[in-house]
Symmetry: C2
Subunit: 476 residues, 2 copies
Amino acid sequence: MIVPLLLSGGSGTRLWPLSRADVPKQLQALAHEDTMLQATAMRVIDNVNGLRFDAPCVVAGEAHRFLVGEQLLHIGVQPRTIILEPQGRNTAPAVALAALYLAAAGDAQSLMLVMPSDHLIADVPAFLRAIDAAVPDALAGKLVTFGIEPTEAATGYGYIQPAAAAGVVRPVARFVEKPDQETAHRYLAEGYLWNAGIFLLKAVDYLAALERHAPDVLTAARAAMQAPERDGLFLRPEELAFAGCPSISIDYAVMERADNVCVVPVDMGWSDVGSWDALWRVAVPDANGNVVRGDGALIGCRDSLVRNDGGPFVAALGLEGMVVVATGDAVLIAPRDRAEDIRAVVDAIEARGLDLARTSHEVRRPWGSYKCLGRADGWQAKRLAVRPGGRLSLQKHAHRAETWVVASGVALVSVDGVEQRLSAGQSVHIPTGAVHRLDNPGPEPLDVIEVQLGDYLGEDDIVRLADIYGRTMRAG
Amino acid sequence: MIVPLLLSGGSGTRLWPLSRADVPKQLQALAHEDTMLQATAMRVIDNVNGLRFDAPCVVAGEAHRFLVGEQLLHIGVQPRTIILEPQGRNTAPAVALAALYLAAAGDAQSLMLVMPSDHLIADVPAFLRAIDAAVPDALAGKLVTFGIEPTEAATGYGYIQPAAAAGVVRPVARFVEKPDQETAHRYLAEGYLWNAGIFLLKAVDYLAALERHAPDVLTAARAAMQAPERDGLFLRPEELAFAGCPSISIDYAVMERADNVCVVPVDMGWSDVGSWDALWRVAVPDANGNVVRGDGALIGCRDSLVRNDGGPFVAALGLEGMVVVATGDAVLIAPRDRAEDIRAVVDAIEARGLDLARTSHEVRRPWGSYKCLGRADGWQAKRLAVRPGGRLSLQKHAHRAETWVVASGVALVSVDGVEQRLSAGQSVHIPTGAVHRLDNPGPEPLDVIEVQLGDYLGEDDIVRLADIYGRTMRAG
């Protein structure tokens, strides 16, 4: 049995304004109805794809713990554990945490299938065949990587040069960095493969390789996993110990240095969806080459991507090779071939002190979500969407009063110890400083319009006194 | 003294999504802080520009009556009258209504300065000099038009060919339609002028010209002005009589047919701002040729216009020669040189049954404005902004209940005859069918968050029982 390891630690902004630090790419439904994490997990579920896989382990950021857990449970995947990185330290330490977890559980000999959780794979049977082909070598102590057969001279990926040898599984001659265009063409001609960051290896072999090639990573990870905090499915390595770990990729730390690395070439419709342009490329365009999702009208446009996730109606006229992405609080417009430069946009926005680059318009919480509907001097209106059974923390605010109006569903409201049930159209006022809580006790979703009043309306004006999601000590 | 006649009947969509049927271009602040109508009125105010002008007359659409009145009063202009066209019938009938109004007031010999209210004139002194030059001929019974000295071979305007003659005021050889590019170049070389639709003529002379060249227009307008309804500043021609009037421009009906037409060439920085491209052209661009207004960031853009009026943040990367216009409910993206084709966009939106093409996101009312903040199944949240002294109609709804929360200011609320004062944070529920009213009795603006509840939430579910703005019988 293989233990899938889903790496969900990224917080990239290349797909801004949809992907933001609080809900990064892997937790977004980009190409399909499922999120990238869900799609990644679905590929390695046994009932769908034969009897190869154990329950997956996940390594994710603390801030994403509820979303990760919820997304997996939503598709019926019960992870073995979700290891919460106290800080992002790139892939080598993340995989080390999981390998140490398995070793501590007596599963050091387990095969780990290391997978980024933000890639697309169109041909899953091809992926599974490649895994099957890799198993004997991985069991024999090899570090097996999967090399994507290139479809173009891409400059956005590292490449793997397989050694000249027969067989499906071939030794690796070398790993190389992202090339320039000319070099990429040479790599393509010479049979290099794209490095997709997918690996099959035994936990014990990975730890041994770390010991030899990146002992500082192993030392820090070991210290962090000495006595991790267990919190249901979540496992928290010790924060201070992990803080001392270098930030380094598995490629740099191990693969480029080890001599027991081999590669399985695979053609499986892979994409890392690393840009809006890449998303356009993997979609099925209409007769004019356009890809449209969400509210919009394209008139006389060609080869363009329009994506609208809750933004205003997008009317596009005469666009050629453009990307338009609209959300409730930001809209991006760029030529498709500049889509890789979105970092510059995000930097410009952060330089203005705007939170747009980091926080989504609709903010997810374990009880549901909220978003700002409007604001002016002295007030802000929000919509709170509380899932059935959802319960906000028992809280108070030092600087703002609030009025809640139930828009749909039934609310159980407590203000300074007085409980009442409110149905649609009913409201309650919460004076500044009052201890209050909002519950959805019913089977239907609950929508509440919250009107905040005060001179300071920041999210940080909150004291959590009790929380069923354990957030009194932690944010999120 | 000259009577300025401001024609404000247009409802064009060439500047969509900002300009819409409910707040068309002339009522928008496009190039400056003032609206186009305000800027037009300011040009012909005596205290600013010498002693030439009487109080202006305005011809406007019924639906815009409050906005027109409010915008003029806001800049201290007290119009002589605001004639409300029951239907738009183009310029010849509109000017006829005003001429008949003056004739009925004993001012048939008055000079009328006919002006579209949606044009820019950068050099107002040059305009005033041209008017002064035109006065003697107009007093002598000529129909004087003002011909703009062309700055390029534009294909978007009609042209005027002056007769070969000496002097500032020259007879007109002929009026010609919008030319193709080649013809436009020829016109430019041969000294033709742009037809800006600005005229100086005596009311009596215009009526005489109508009698001779478009008697059906005069007959219908006369019938409509037989017994117009007076309503404060507003004057309402008889609707059925006016309905029979042909829809025809003053150029077609009179100018192209009359033999007593002359033209004053003028170079006054004129633009009809007929497209987003035209707006970019009259603005002062930054070093990269960009014009930005409202929330947005431009990275590596050139020669582009970004305009954001209450829409999400606009992040533009690598645009060249593009137009981006964002509002709360729609964003337009188009190449600047396609900006004239916006009609196709508006048609596509109307074909989808969307109201976006006609109604603004923030809907103006005589008491203030409202806008939708969010909606879902069974509810809708709105913000009502009520100006000091503003008073919504006494009303009831057949299909929806409402809850009002005061967000700022003080509200006087009446529900089924029970009055109460509410301050920020306080709320009231209005059951379906209850007779209710909202007042802003205070000196501060009043913001109310309205949560509507019901299966049908259309604007047409309203019965107005009393209204200080006279809207119980009329919409708006």
